[in-house]
């Protein structure tokens, strides 16, 4: 078998409602434990290759963890450059979902051309910042920013996102009336998906429990104490399971806030938050360009002890924790956003519990899964 994994959602119904939500995951949440015995730079080389959806976020979380252990504080230009790389991946991932997966939900053809344009534009950012390819290096690699190439890539990506969705970036970020106006006359498959949700717009709504920025305050201690891997598989924050990702990040943006007020944490506000997250990422990237400056690679400094690295990946909070002994990794833990959102007590399960069990339940549940965007394939079955 291949070391890829799935999530299975089984809905048990009783008296016309969903009585129980069973979430089974074959995700290898302890696979990172196999990094023990390797050098940190080996781990940093492997990470982007075995986590294809969020390879950049994984590598940057790892770099942050090593820096935390070594007491390295990266320079402002390095922080800006890494943030650009992280956001580029977020834009690519959301773009791929919007262009490839959303049209299928309304029976339309995927816009692979749009997805490719966006992905190619975002892929151009990395060589425009770190021409030697040393972007995932503790302290920072050789940063030689080509601002014009970065700005061109941002312009291409912005144009692609507008073409594939019909929303101008400012509509998605700042203007709830303009957002509603696009939904009133949708001209693209993604806009038709959002506009045509009808009663499903609020499906899955539940009390909103967003993850605090930076994650739970005791995250490092909880990971350190997690001897049996129970926390990695089913994390919690003081017994609660907050959600992480675009809605938690962007709930304050006017179009998202307006939809949240009207529909609660249902499907429509979640999908809109993903669109807003992509648009907002492109806008932030444009502001980061001014912080870039040519910076030589950092000298290698040995790391000892333990360190925690936390980044906001496309799908939410991603945490890496490393322990080092004699220059080698002695313990490695990765906690990914899907472990929060697809937790048996998490946002998906809470949203499905008590749902009306009619003949559209399975389709609605799939919509909610898409809206919460797991990082692995996910099947839904109604019993």
């Amino acid at each position: 078998m291949l070391p890829e994994s799935r999530i299975h959602i089984a809905l048990r119904t009783s008296a016309g409602r969903v009585a129980a939500v069973e979430v089974r995951s074959t995700r290898m949440v302890e696979a990172a434990g196999r990094f023990a015995g390797r050098r940190p730079d080996e781990v940093l080389a492997i990470l982007p290759l075995v986590f294809s959806l969020c390879g950049t976020a994984q590598a940057l979380a790892a770099v942050a963890a090593v820096e935390d252990a070594a007491g390295i504080v990266p320079s402002r230009p390095q922080i800006a450059a890494r943030r650009l790389l992280l956001l580029a991946e977020t834009v690519s991932e959301h773009g791929l979902g919007i262009a490839r997966d959303w049209p299928a939900l309304v029976g339309e053809a995927a816009d692979l051309g749009g997805a490719k344009t966006l992905k190619t534009a975002m892929a151009a950012i990395r060589p425009a910042l770190y021409p030697a390819g040393d972007w995932a290096v503790p302290g920072g690699g050789g940063l030689v920013p080509d601002r014009f190439r970065v700005q061109d890539a941002l312009a291409d990506a912005g144009a692609a996102l507008v073409a594939m969705t019909g929303f101008r970036l400012c509509h998605a970020i700042d203007d709830s009336e303009a957002f509603a106006a696009v939904l009133a006359h949708p001209s693209t498959a993604p806009a038709r998906l959002l506009a045509g949700l009808g009663e499903d717009a609020g499906f899955g709504a539940q009390p909103f429990e967003p993850m605090p920025a930076g994650g739970p305050a005791d995250l490092n201690a909880r990971l350190a104490a997690d001897a049996d891997g129970g926390f990695l598989a089913r994390p919690d924050m003081g017994g609660r399971v907050p959600e992480t990702g675009p809605l938690a990040r962007q709930a304050m943006l006017p179009p998202v806030a307006a939809l949240l007020a009207r529909h609660g944490t249902g499907v429509l506000p979640r999908l809109a938050a993903r669109l807003a997250d992509a648009a907002s990422a492109l806008r932030e990237m444009a502001t980061l360009v001014q912080d870039l400056a040519e910076t030589p690679p950092s000298p290698i400094r040995p790391a000892q002890g333990s360190g925690l690295g936390v980044v906001e990946a496309a799908r939410g909070l991603l945490a890496h924790r490393i322990e080092l002994e004699d220059g080698l990794v002695s313990r490695y833990q990765i906690l990914a956003p899907t472990e929060w959102n697809f937790h048996p007590g998490g946002a998906l399960a809470r949203g499905l519990a008590g749902a009306i069990a009619d003949d559209r339940l399975e389709a609605r549940a799939r919509l909610l899964v898409h809206a919460l965007d797991p990082c692995v394939a996910c099947t839904v079955a109604v019993d």
């Binding site: 291949l2 492997i46 290759l49 899907t338 394939a377």
Partner: protein, 77 residues
């Protein structure tokens, strides 16, 4: 975690490649790949393994496969 397996292209038919990893072959689209790919190249596949997301150097792919083999053998999969 969204683990993926770097896979070697063993055949290409138009925009569809047959790729191999751990003795299993499967087909994936090359439509989203930003660069030319040829038989023998290693690619990372996106979620579900339906399309190639990125081409990777052979040495790096082999190091990743070595790690993934360890994960599989460890029984923690």
């Amino acid at each position: 975690m969204c683990m993926a397996v770097p896979s070697r292209i063993v055949a290409i038919d138009g925009a569809v490649a047959t790729v191999e990893a751990f003795g299993q072959t499967r087909q994936c689209s090359l439509m989203l790949l930003g660069e030319e790919a040829a038989v023998g190249d290693y690619v990372i596949l996106g979620a579900g393994g339906t399309f190639a997301a990125e081409k990777v150097p052979e040495e790096a792919a082999l190091a990743a496969l070595d790690y993934l083999a360890e994960v599989l053998e460890s029984g923690r999969a």
